[in-house]
Amino acid sequence: MPYLTLSPAQLVRRGIIEAINVPGFALCSTLIGFGAIAREAGFDIWMTTTTTLLVFGMPGQVAMASLYASGASLLLIFIAVCLANLRMMLMVISGSDLLNLPQHKLPLWKRVLLMQGMAITGWAQLGFKQETIAPNDLLHYYKGFAATIYVFAISGTIIGFHLDNLIPEHVLRIVIFVTPLYLLLLIINAKQTTNKLAVVIGGTLCPLLYPLAGDWAILYAGFVGGTLSAFIIRFASLRADKERS
C-alpha cells in the first residue's frame, strides 16, 4: 500500500481528527472509570487530574488509587505502579523506532515531552498507521493524535470525578468494554508477524498466570510471549532462507 502524501500540517490535523473518534471517546470513557475510582478512594479533583496528567497510564493509575484506598504503604504503591507501567519503557523504545525519532535530531526535553504521551492508545495507533504513513511523517501525525487523546483523558477524568452517577450503568458497561476491545483489535493487526504472535501468546498467558503470579503475570507473560515469538519467527525465517539457498 503506498504511503499518504500529506503536508506536516495536514498530518497533524489528520491525527487530531482520527483521535476525535473511537480512540478519544474510548480513552475518555476509561478515564471516567478512573475518575470515579479515585473519588471513591478519597482523592480530590486536583490530585485525580494531576495523576492522569503526570502518569498517563491507566493500569498504574488504578493501582495507585485502589491500593491507597486499601491502606497499602507508599512503598507498596510505588512497587505496584512500577510493575504495572514497566511496559512504558518498551513502548517508548518501540514508539521511538516507529517514529524514526533518532533521525529527527530532537533535543532531550522534546523527546521526553513527546514520549509522555506514549501510552497504549497512542502506541497501538502508531503501529496501525505505519502501513499508511511514511516513518518520517509519522511524528507529525503522532503530535496531533497524542495531544488530542491527552485532552480526552483529562476530560474523562474530570467527568468521571464529578458526573459518574449521571451516566446510566448499562451504557457505562458497554463504553468501558470498548477500550480493551479497540486496543486488542489494533494490536492483533500488527504489521509484523512476530508482533502478532506476541499478542496471541502474551494475551493468552497473562490471564492464565494471574491467579498464581498476581501483577507479576504481566511481566512473565510479556517476557515469555515476546521472547518466544521473536525466536520462533527468527528461526522460521532463517530456515526459509536456508531452504531457498
Binding site: M89, L90, L172, L185, T204, A230
Partner: protein, 114 residues
C-alpha cells in the same frame, strides 16, 4: 476510604500521586535514553517490540478477564465471546470500525437479550 495524613509535612495522598508519577516517568525516561542506542533493524529491537506487544496484550486481557469496577458486574463469557467475534472480524475482514461494531454490538446484545 483511607484518611489522608501528613507525611514529612506533605499530604500522604499527594505523596502517592508523586510516587506514581516517578514510578512511570522513570520507565519513559529510560526508554528515551535507550531508544537512541538500539539499532532499528537489530534483533534486539525486534525482541523489544515483541515484548511490548506481548505485555500490552497481557494488560488488556487482564482488564477483560479480571476487570475492576462496573465491568466486573458483566459475565466473563459475554466479554470473551464479544472479543472473539471482534477479533474474528478483524482477522478475516481487516476493517477496524466494523470489527469494533461487531465486538461492541455482540456484547450489548448479550447483555440485554440473553
Amino acid at each position: 476510604m483511607k484518611p489522608d495524613t501528613a507525611l514529612f509535612g506533605i499530604s500522604e495522598m499527594w505523596a502517592a500521586v508523586i510516587l506514581a508519577f516517578v514510578a512511570t516517568f522513570m520507565w519513559r525516561f529510560l526508554g528515551v535514553m535507550l531508544a537512541n542506542r538500539i539499532k532499528t533493524d537489530s534483533f534486539l529491537m525486534i525482541w523489544i517490540n515483541a515484548l511490548a506487544y506481548a505485555m500490552v496484550a497481557g494488560v488488556l486481557m487482564l482488564i477483560l478477564v479480571y476487570p475492576s469496577g462496573i465491568l466486573a458486574t458483566t459475565p466473563l463469557d459475554y466479554r470473551l465471546g464479544a472479543l472473539g467475534l471482534g477479533l474474528l472480524c478483524m482477522v478475516t475482514l481487516k476493517i477496524l470500525w466494523l470489527s469494533i461494531l461487531v465486538g461492541m454490538g455482540s456484547f450489548a446484545l448479550a447483555m440485554y437479550l440473553l
